[in-house]
């Protein structure tokens, strides 16, 4: 059975204080690893897809990387508007998407 574990559960950052979120996974036949952002009261919003170890994707202050066992979401010089819950998900060979529990990020001015 696929497992996705995200750490830490919560992260409080000062504006400009860079940090990384971790997503470790076990999956039968990884077809892709995805990062989503979720704001309170909203549905998740797609950020990135990573397909193979060594791949990197960037979007504004966010950078996602992938190894064979885990993925990292780096937040560089965060701003208060980066406050959200960040969800990691894996897509396996059966076509299933398995989400992690998320990391709640709060960025204070």
């Amino acid at each position: 059975e696929d497992q996705v574990t995200q750490s830490p559960e919560a992260l409080r950052l000062q504006e400009g204080e860079s940090s990384s979120l971790n997503c470790s996974y076990t999956v039968s036949g990884l077809r892709g690893l995805f990062w989503y952002r979720q704001d309170p009261g909203k549905g998740p919003e797609f950020l990135f897809t990573l397909y193979s170890a060594g791949e990197e994707k960037e979007k504004e202050r966010l950078k996602a990387t992938l190894t064979k066992k885990e993925s990292f979401l780096h937040i560089t010089a965060p701003k208060p508007e980066d406050s959200a819950t960040y969800l990691c998900a894996v897509h396996d060979s059966w076509g299933k998407f398995q989400f992690g529990a998320g990391t709640q990020v709060v960025v204070t001015p």
């Binding site: 690893l33 009261g41 797609f46 897809t49 969800l87 897509h91 998407f97 989400f99 529990a101």
Partner: protein, 114 residues
């Protein structure tokens, strides 16, 4: 382009009553998902449709939950009867290309069972 539309946004019912949620996916998206999300947790898949066909309903509690997607467009998720533990957010998502991982989610329907 309109996003995924869900209704109602909020529903409060007594236990043992029935409830239904409706989802209109993005036009042209063949794949539709219903997820359940508890507070502080990630979404958990209930059912996945490819057009009209339910291709993965292994996590759907079939004794009380049912879903349909007539004509391969709109979908309805029903709970009958509701239990206290069903209180959660029910999310609908659609995708034109699931392999890309890009699922488009609606804002969800928040259910409270009293």
């Amino acid at each position: 382009e309109a996003g995924v539309v869900q209704s109602p946004r909020y529903k409060i019912i007594e236990k043992k009553q029935p409830v239904a949620f409706w989802c209109n996916p993005i036009s042209g998206h063949n794949t539709l998902y219903w997820y359940l999300q508890n507070l502080g947790q990630g979404p958990e898949l209930l059912i996945r449709y490819e057009n009209e066909e339910a291709v993965d309903d292994s996590q759907l509690p079939k004794d009380r939950f049912s879903a349909e997607r007539l004509k391969g467009v709109d979908s309805t998720l029903k709970i009958q009867p509701a239990e206290l533990g069903d209180s959660a957010v029910y999310l609908c998502a659609s995708s034109g290309q699931p392999s890309t991982g890009e699922l488009f989610f609606g804002e969800g329907s928040r259910l409270t069972v009293l």
